[in-house]
């Protein structure tokens, strides 16, 4: 058995969680890693398709990068409001939690709206799952696949947040519940940063 300093608890000696968190939070973290690898698989696949392709379009000629940057800004801002909600929940400021979770939901909705606008625009230019006017057909397929997958995650996050809001206002949720929803929301935002970097920028 490992020796323990006076007064300290050996966190690996059993009886307690070694990470100073309950199993719920640990499970959420592991799930997030798992879900992250799903996106890793998709992004790796798109990188593979891109290296195989003879012509891969210049992204700045297809997308309006400032618009995408604005989408990114909206999503990151919603992460900030979510962090404020978690802090308020820990501080016991019930009304603030409601306000900040509400703001996060608004941020998520705005992001989804902007994504819908972008999809409409791209589809209007003639892109489908199987073909697009800019070169390699896989470009369009991967675009809809990856942004669609991310969008569905944002939608899931919104459903989680709405149910959290309802439960919070009814007094059914705890500060840990807010934190777990927050973890998932931050994850969805972080994935977008990777999508933005790997698919839109480089």
């Amino acid at each position: 058995m490992t020796t323990v300093a006076d007064g300290a608890v050996d966190r690996w000696a059993g009886g307690v969680c070694p990470f100073e968190m309950g199993w719920r939070k640990l499970m959420m973290w592991i799930f997030i890693i798992t879900d992250g690898l799903l996106f890793a698989g998709l992004l790796a696949a798109s990188g593979y398709g891109r290296t195989m392709a003879s012509v891969w379009p210049e992204q700045s000629g297809v997308f309006s990068i400032p618009f995408i940057a604005a989408m990114t800004f909206v999503l990151i801002s919603s992460s900030a409001t979510m962090a404020s909600a978690v802090a308020a929940a820990h501080a016991g400021k019930t009304a603030d939690v409601t306000r900040f979770v509400g703001l996060t939901i608004v941020g998520g909705l705005v992001f989804l709206g902007m994504q819908a606008y972008e999809w409409t625009h791209i589809i209007g230019e003639g892109a489908t799952l199987t073909s697009n006017p800019w070169g390699d057909p896989l470009f369009g397929a991967y675009f809809f696949m990856i942004t669609g997958f991310h969008g569905s995650h944002v939608l899931t996050g919104l459903i989680v947040l709405v149910s959290l809001l309802v439960r919070w206002t009814k007094g059914l949720s705890t500060s840990e519940g807010v934190e777990l929803a927050g973890l998932y929301w931050h994850f969805v935002d972080l994935v977008w940063v990777f999508v933005f970097t790997c698919f839109y920028l480089i």
């Binding site: 050996d10 059993g14 969680c17 499970m27 798992t34 890793a40 696949a45 199987t130 896989l138 997958f149």
Partner: protein, 583 residues
């Protein structure tokens, strides 16, 4: 939960959140699926053993599969696909990984249940649904999937390629998606339970090897399955929405050119084997962990090199994520990449060899008692050693060029993820049956079952190595049509007969299992005089496992013959000053 609370039959045995009931549900489901997979193997061997014979009975049973008494080639490849799929995902995964994982993890770490019992129940019902969906694919138009358990495109991506590429393949993918969801839920529970719910005093280095192996296996499953999910989604898009993720241009089916362009079937192989290789360790590690715990109970001495075994399991877990390319040496990858994957594969053999040699060393100087669980454990070690030698050839790009897609591969993986896991599963079933049901299994029938299983199993798949060296390719439907393979007809017939013996022996097990459930000899809490925590509670353990107070753990799991004399052992709960128990 209070003693007075009676949840009623349905909540206790059907929609139960008790990890022990869920574990048993998994095990029974898996055993039924294993019977289906075994019967499919019989169909395969009938075809390979007697390729020209006419089977009127089979025609009557399966008119579409056996037109005028001869097996249809499309049906054969469906049967091969479903045999592999069912054995890997629905037999070994359910019985050994999820079944015993559920049953043993909370008991052996000293917890009342899994971290999240409701999620655990959900994972079982998803698993059952996935199995039912997979079985349903036999009944649809065109029959079950026919692209192999690896589902390589283009065969799996173009619905018109072969009959099984139609609805059968779609159902296969849907079933796999449900399976992955179930496996993820179960893996989350295992990892969270082992991290957070160990009893006081149960340090990581006091965990039995069984728990370490489930821990590593669950982490591997969680990391490896998501990329397969991504690949499965892409494949579904290719199949139903016309994308070309896995399909290059220039494909022609039945004289009709197809409009796909730009994709690569190699991408599927990469994504699949990024899962597929860790997956074989997900299956085999629990078997090795269980063997590491069963051997000491029957040699009455500690497992050799416990720490090194744990480090080996961790090393195998890490390395298993970076060797997937050795399944693809002949796919046209760059020779430099092949060289890397060869090297990485040779590196992973080191911790695996350490583990295997330590198991052998655990026998040295022990006072062996050859009860049925011990026999199956020894069989697992034997197969692990023999199969490992075959792996050295296949892991080398140079040798694999010759051996790839021959029966050498079939023999190899049946030794490893077929045999080691099967023997480990039976060792676990015989070892923990008394704990699960409070009665022991019949020893005589158990030994008969062992010899009827191990002897033909070893001969069949050892023989297949030699068929592979003669160039016999896997997945082929008939070998009597190739001149250079005419000499193998006798060997194939012999292997088929041996498989019949192997399958017949499983009926001995079924009878023994059912008979022992009701008529087996009642047992005490600790019939094997073993040390781990589950043996300190009644057989079967009550709901909540340990009553109101969790056990306090004071020592490691291998305190056998602590003084090196006498048949003594100390359970993990024995305090520092407690005398060892004399059995």
């Amino acid at each position: 939960m209070s003693e007075a609370h009676d949840p009623g039959f349905i909540r206790r045995y059907i929609f139960s959140t008790d990890h022990k009931i869920i574990g048993i549900q998994y095990i029974l489901t898996g055993l039924v699926m294993g019977m289906v997979g075994g019967l499919l193997a019989v169909l395969i061997r009938i075809q390979l053993g007697w390729p020209t014979a006419q089977w009127e009975l089979l025609e009557r049973l399966m008119p579409r599969g056996y037109p005028s008494g001869f097996m249809a080639p499309e049906f054969y490849i469906s049967v091969v696909t479903m045999h592999g799929t069912i054995m890997v995902f629905f037999f070994i995964s359910y019985v050994l990984v999820s079944g015993f994982g559920n049953y043993l993890v909370p008991l052996q770490v000293g917890a009342k249940d899994m971290a999240y019992p409701l999620l655990n129940m959900l994972s079982y019902w998803f698993a059952l649904l996935s199995a039912v969906v997979m079985m349903a694919s036999f009944l649809v138009e065109g029959g079950a999937a026919a692209a192999g358990w690896t589902a390589y495109p283009p065969l799996s991506a173009i619905a018109s390629a072969v009959p099984g590429s139609g609805l059968g393949q779609s159902i296969w993918l849907v079933s796999m998606a449900i399976f992955i969801a179930s496996f993820t839920m179960s893996g989350l529970n295992v990892v969270a339970t082992i991290f957070t719910m160990r009893a006081p005093g149960m340090t990581m280095m006091r965990l039995p090897l069984t728990i370490w192996s489930y821990f590593i296996a669950a982490i591997l499953g969680l990391l490896a399955f998501p990329p397969l999910t991504a690949a499965a989604v892409l494949l579904l898009f290719d199949r139903h929405l016309g994308t070309s993720f896995f399909l290059p241009s220039g494909l022609v089916v039945a004289g009709q050119p197809l409009s796909f362009q730009g994709g690569s079937p190699l991408l599927w192989q990469h994504l699949f084997w990024f899962l597929g290789h860790p997956e074989v360790y997900v299956l085999i590690l629990p078997a090795l962990g269980i063997v590491g715990d069963v051997l000491p109970a029957f040699t009455r001495k500690p497992v050799f090199g416990y720490r090194l075994n744990v480090y080996s399991l961790i090393a195998v877990g890490v390395l298993s994520m970076v060797v997937w390319g050795h399944h693809m040496f002949v796919s046209g990858m760059s020779p430099f990449t092949g060289e890397y994957f060869t090297l990485a594969t040779m590196v992973i053999t080191i911790p695996m060899t350490v583990y295997g040699v330590n198991l052998v060393a655990s026998l040295f100087g022990g006072r062996m008692r050859l009860a049925t669980p011990m026999l199956f454990s020894l069989a697992a070690v034997a197969l692990f050693g023999s199969g490992g030698f075959g792996g050295l050839f296949l892991g080398n790009a140079t040798a694999d060029m010759q051996l790839h897609d021959t029966y050498f591969v079939v023999g190899h993986f049946h030794f490893m993820i077929g045999g080691v896991t099967l023997m480990g599963t039976f060792a676990a079933l015989y070892f923990w049956f008394p704990k699960m049901f409070g009665r022991s299994m019949h020893e005589g029938f158990g030994k008969l079952h062992f010899w009827g299983t191990f002897a033909p199993f070893f001969m069949v798949f050892f023989g297949q190595h030699f068929l592979g060296l003669q160039g016999m390719p896997r997945r082929y439907y008939a070998f009597n049509t190739y001149e250079y393979l005419e000499g193998t007809a006798g060997q194939n017939t012999m292997l088929s007969v041996l498989v019949m013996v192997l399958v017949a022996a499983q009926f001995v097990f079924m009878v023994n299992f059912l008979w022992s459930l009701f008529k087996g000899q009642p047992v005490e809490a600790n019939p094997w005089a073993a040390t781990t925590l589950e043996w300190t509670v009644a057989s079967p353990p009550p709901h909540g496992n340990f009553g109101d107070t969790l056990p306090a753990v004071h020592r490691w799991a291998y305190e056998y013959s602590p003084d090196g004399t006498g048949e003594d052992f100390a359970p993990q709960t024995a305090g520092p000053n407690d005398a060892p128990i004399t059995a």
